[in-house]
Amino acid sequence: MSNTTAPAPGSSGSSDDQGLGAAASQLSTAPQEDAPGPPSMGVIGWARWFWRQLTSMRVALLLLFLLSLGAIPGSLIPQSGTDDTKVADFMRRHDFLGPLYEKLGLFHVYSSVWFSAIYILLFVSLIGCIVPRTWQFVGQLRSRPPGAPRRLTRLPAYTTWRTEAEPEQVREAALVLLRKRRFRALPHSPKDAGGIPIAGDSVAAEKGYLREVGNLAFHIALIVMLTAFAWGQLYKSEGNKLILEGDGFSNTLTQYDDFKSGTLFDTDDLDPFSFNLKDFKGTYEESGPNRGTPRTYEADVDYRVGAYGKAQKRTVKVNEPLVIGDSKVYLTAHGYAPVITVRDGKGDIVFDQPVALLPLDSNVTSSGAIKVMDGYRNAKGVQEQLGIQAFFLPTYVPGNEIASQFPALENPVLNLAPYHGDLGVNAGLPQSVYQLDKTHMKAFKDAKGQQVRENLKPGETMQLPNGAGSITYKGTQEWANFQITRQPAAGWALGGAIVAIVGLAGSLFIQRRRVWVRAVKGPDGVTVVEMGGLGRSESAKVPEELGEIAGTLYDQAPGAPDADSETPDPTVVPAEGAEK
């Protein structure tokens, strides 16, 4: 497309346009832009043409653009991976759009066929681009900087003067000087052929190869990052476990409260470890307007790696997970678990354990359910199930019955409402441990027919009516919820990211540039020194640097008194002598 329109003024053409030819060649390893003409030969011709297109800068540009465009819908339309309820809600409300989006994969954009196609094409293009560029660069490192163009005056930066010094001396001094400035500098002559250096009329020097190294490193690092990310997605796992103080967890599938994993995950991938929650500590702002704001959340754990590992102590905090192998154990929530003892009609203990309650707000007002599945017999000796609705305020302030006033256990009150009957747990349907299904349960009623409901302080007991037993609130334990995630190859992703940044900085901040110095005897026997500089892109640094080098060289080969002018007319000067 670019070939049909003349280069617009202001949009500088590539340096080759300046007629610099070989001098500007291979100043980068960017692929050659060739005309987007149709291929001429059969299948192989087409394949080659297709490959050329795919690995061209133009198509890379298009694919990058498509990638950013393609990422947009996923940020505006609910995604099933992150928010299933919103997706369901959207489907319910939109009869037409819902199924359409579903078909287009818009509810899971980042794993959809079309999005994958874009980035896979981009990365094929990237690999198809990097491999030849790397070879080309290795070739450039092994060859020598191209010789001086015939007319140095055509270069973006140019300078010249006349000197009494001999040309050989000037060239030698230039060579030393450029090498000292860490240029790769070699003597060069137009007759130089086949890589055999012949002492010629000029010196060619190049610097800034690290730019290319940085650029290649950056693009390779992108591949590493993507591969690591894809690997992580396929093999990841994530699960939650609520643990009471004093209890433990060992990392097997059955121990999790809930568990999600990538498509290629295998239960054998779970890192073997276990840990016990010894103590959970939460401290809160005691006073001031921010009273109640959490200050610290800490869980002290003992963990073991492998079945027989030694127990090690660790403290897990909100932003500081416990890391074991590829697994990370995060502290994600905490709450209270009142210890409940239930006795049946005969006075036998049928239930005696802490029951974790679910926090409802930042002051840990909690609710939940105590389910006595078996062993309980009522006053008549008939087997029944008990369900007790629990509502808990860690800090009860008289007058406010519905919300705790502080997150810590300052004045805990447990409100209990017991029911009896059939919990419905045997129906096979999954049931929340925090809620009672009351369809087959009856509330206990007192003599007046009112539902029994009582506030208990630690140590207090409530009697069930008509000798149906009793419930004791013995005390309160704390629990912490842990999320255990495993995202393999995260280290590779991080390493790739670091290399990418460093490479990018090198690629953008280092200039690759060339300097030529030519010194020949003019017709009048006085040496004419010419210097030219060329950068990959026009940069103020190139003439600046050339000026510095010229200044130093000038000190070693001072200007000769000149008859006509200080600076000879550059259009006349070109070293024709070298042509002979």
Partner: protein, 375 residues
Amino acid sequence: MSALATATDLVHTTTLAAATNENLANISNTLIYSAMAVYTLAFFTYIAEWIFGSRSKVSRTAAALTAKPAGAAGAKAPEVTVKNAGGTAVLERPKVVVRAAAGARDVPDGPGAHGGDVQGDLYGRIAVSLTVVAFLVEFAGVLARALSVQRAPWGNMYEFNLTFSTTAVGVYLVFLALKKDIRWLGLPLVTTVLLDLGLAVTVLYTASDQLVPALHSYWLYIHVSTAILCGAVFYVGAVATILYLFKDSYENKLASGGEPGSFATSVMERLPASASLDKFSYRVNAAVFPLWTFTIIAGAIWAGDAWGRYWGWDPKETWAFITWVAYATYLHARATAGWKGRRAAYIALIAFACFLFNYYGVNIFVSGKHSYAGV
């Protein structure tokens, strides 16, 4: 259940709404309003600079373009220009001759808003001084705000806006201190800063509140502060890009024999050449791109620590990624034949629009894990 829900809301509002230090918060508000007043003064002074500058009738661009008609390149001996301004080193004796690339217009940079007019220049200098004062006052306002909430000043959009505009002005002043010729940026910058602050104090104002525990992490400080810095620098790049597009059209018109209006001539003649603007915006965008890459990675590390996954396509993350790819596309375009110049400039503007959307759009229109900030 519903009674419980309302109670929950109540608890939330009471713990969050209260200011840690009412006094400092009030001082901060006063300082912000004062900064706005000084910015307004600076705004009028920049305008005065442009008005006085219009007295000088310069038309170097036309002269340069007609003296050397485009398209003659390669026909005869190369044209050689000696530039004394800018980065060209002038040695004691050997002079470095700088030649523009073939096909590029060789147009001298304009003298700046003051147009060489002495009085205009004076107003320009006063405007810069006022900008410095306003910057210091605003900076103090942001600092007071930070002290009043006892955390970094970017917990909500009001604070984001304050910090962002302070940083943008800071970047401009740093450029000036480095003797970069960018006083032409003053008027557009101060105009947008006033709009940004106006939006902040009217629509976005939030009484100071605390951060939720997940936000406590030094990665947050790194991530957000570099994000704001990147935004400020990208903004400077975007303004230069827009001016480049205008100036380039102007030069195109002149080169093709057109006659731009007198207002356009007066303004455009005083701006740097389109090539200089283009180069400036490229440098600015390219220089900050690695930092933007770092910002996203720092965010991913933080997300990994706080949420257990380093990348989860949360809307904010997604738009940071889109912005990143858009800027990468821009840098690529600069290296692709046929995409340099105006087309690349359009991509740069799209990229900046993505950044802005991430900043405002996502907070306002999209809900995600990042929306704790509270608009």
